[in-house]
Amino acid sequence: MPVDSFRLIGSLHRDGASLELKTVDLCFLVALYTRANDGALTGFDEEALLDVFEQVCEVVEPGADNPRKRATHAVQRLRDQRLLSRVDGAGVVRAGEYAMTSLASAIVEFYMRDDALTRESLTLLTKTLLASLAELKTAARKATSGEDWRALVVAPLRVTVADLVAGIERRQRGLDAQQEEVQRRVGELLQAEWFDAVERCQGLLDDTTSTLAELNAVLLHDTNQMQGLLQDVEQLATTFGAVEAEEAVQRVTEQVDRVAAWGSARQCAWSEYYQYVHRFLRDIVRLDPSRALSERIRNQLAGWSERPFALVVASAASIRLLRELEGRVDRPAVVRPKRDREVPLEEVAIDLEPAELEERVRAALAAAPDSLAGVVRQVLPEVPAPRRFLAVGRIAAQVAAEANPTSARERPWVAVPGDIEIEDWHLRRNDHP
């Protein structure tokens, strides 16, 4: 999406721009547009606006209450949506004068437009376009400066030629709308009249088909010539180094390509539709003039569960294709790695130290010490320095189990050999419980 589109989308979003038009508003705009065109008016005074609205109201909503008040609201709605603008600048001094904005004109023109391509209009447009392109080619040959290129080639390409091609495209859209209308009409005719509508449907189809075929023939012939002329102009621009002109030619070439592609695409799509409808008319409408078949199928379907049946179809199994023969590859089986479940025994020297410590503690206790610190001081000097901390724990455990210690709530910290301090317990003599 071009940057400008993003900016526009952003600003529309920011301003909360929206359009909301009631049918009566649209009719009001159409009436204003027609009045302005017929009377060559550039604006309407307030009174004229209100009169036009009242007239429209009489047609689309006869008998509506208080048309004057509704007219005031309608004018305000249109002004809020920038469809009507006040052009006099007199403010409150006097009643205002209003004009339709280009947005309002565009909306009305959309509804009023009935331009569709006909052989005549297309031929006229393509011939004018070819003449313009031929003039451009001549001008391009004569152009000697950048200014010449801009004035004689780029400007006409952007305005005249681009407008002519856009004119063809616009009429193509008109024809598209006409085709849709034909398709809708064919459906409605058959729905309403069935067999009696066959001839009229056929006529509608044939008319559109011949129109499309003629248009496509004109397009095929003339777009080739246009592309040839555009190529010549582009060649001249390239030789001169007129970049702006090259770009303008390319844009118009793209438009012409689009016009040509439209022709073949529409003819192809219409051809499919034509065949389909033609077959429908021939195989269904003509063979079932009273339109009884639909009703019978409806009944069949409604009663299907009571009398179910099923269509039979062929169902041959697919041909079995054998795989190509491959040399056999021996793949090793997936196994767990082997592990020796019988772990060999190893000789370990018996650690006698805990037992010796136990004996020494027991011997110390036999001497009836009065505190844990006394036992520790007696036993610990024989224990190697690195193991003393561990030994203190073991001594305490044994003393707790064998010597009936008591302890105050606050136990005193006492130093023992090996820079260790312990919380001391008082030991009661076993012979004095």
Binding site: Q183, R184, V186, G187, E188, L190, Q191, W194, E272, Y273, Y276, V277, R279, F280, D283, I284, D288, L293, S294, R296, I297, R298, N299, Q300, L301, A302, W304, S305, R307, P308, F309, A310, L311, V312, V313, A314, S315, A316, A317, S318
Partner: protein
């Protein structure tokens, strides 16, 4: 007589399009005018292929509505009948095919239109029980999901057989073979007699109801 009419079976079999058409027909596909090359080939080769397929126990049928298909006369090379879902969806599509409003879109209909039409014609509960007879309990959410799933399955089956063309998530192009679903009511005779005649010639079978029941999980 067409210029390209084949004189001998060998010429037919050697035609580049033969394998594709042959496999499609054997798998139950209906080939109509929209499949331009295949249809034209069958038109040209019809006289040669009819006796060829007859030897396998199949009739090569050229319907007046403009399509070909193989009709099995025995079990020699395989046959099947359409499922309940395929039959219900097929009949509804046939009805839509005959509707002039379908013309505006050139025979293209929307899948939700089909489901709505089907439910409108048969009734939602009847449709659920027809499409999933094993389920006894009715839960609206599961029922609707079942209908959509079964309709989708039926459409894939019908598309494989050439009755309809699936154009994307939502769109379907209806094709002339759908008129096979209208065969029992096409003529002036009584529909029951017409159906009996179709069964007698092997074009249809009387469907067997599925009787197993299944509770909600």
């Amino acid at each position: 007589m067409n210029d390209k009419a084949f004189a001998r079976l060998e010429e037919v079999v050697l035609d580049p399009i033969f394998p594709e058409v042959d496999v499609a027909l054997r798998q139950g596909r209906h080939i109509d005018r929209d499949e331009g090359d295949s249809y034209a080939f069958l038109l040209d080769a019809q006289d040669t292929l009819e006796p060829f397929y007859m030897r396998y126990g199949w009739d090569l049928i050229h319907a007046s509505d403009g399509f070909f298909y193989l009709l099995p006369r025995g079990d020699q090379l395989g046959q099947r009948h359409l499922s309940v879902g395929e039959m219900l969806v097929g009949q509804t599509l046939a009805l839509m095919y005959l509707d002039p409003t379908t013309l505006q879109a050139g025979g293209v209909v929307q899948r939700p239109q089909l489901v709505a039409r089907l439910a409108g014609l048969i009734g939602e509960r009847e449709l659920v029980s027809a499409l999933n007879p094993r389920r006894r309990k009715y839960d609206e959410r599961i029922a609707q999901e079942t209908v959509r799933t079964e309709v989708g399955k039926a459409l894939r089956g019908l598309a494989g057989l050439g009755f309809v063309e699936i154009l994307g998530e939502e769109q379907l192009r209806l094709r002339p073979p759908l008129l096979r679903f209208a065969e029992p009511v096409r003529g002036l005779e009584d529909p029951q007699s017409a159906l009996a005649r179709l069964v007698a010639v092997g074009k249809a079978v009387m469907a067997v109801a599925e009787d197993a029941e299944e509770d909600e999980p």
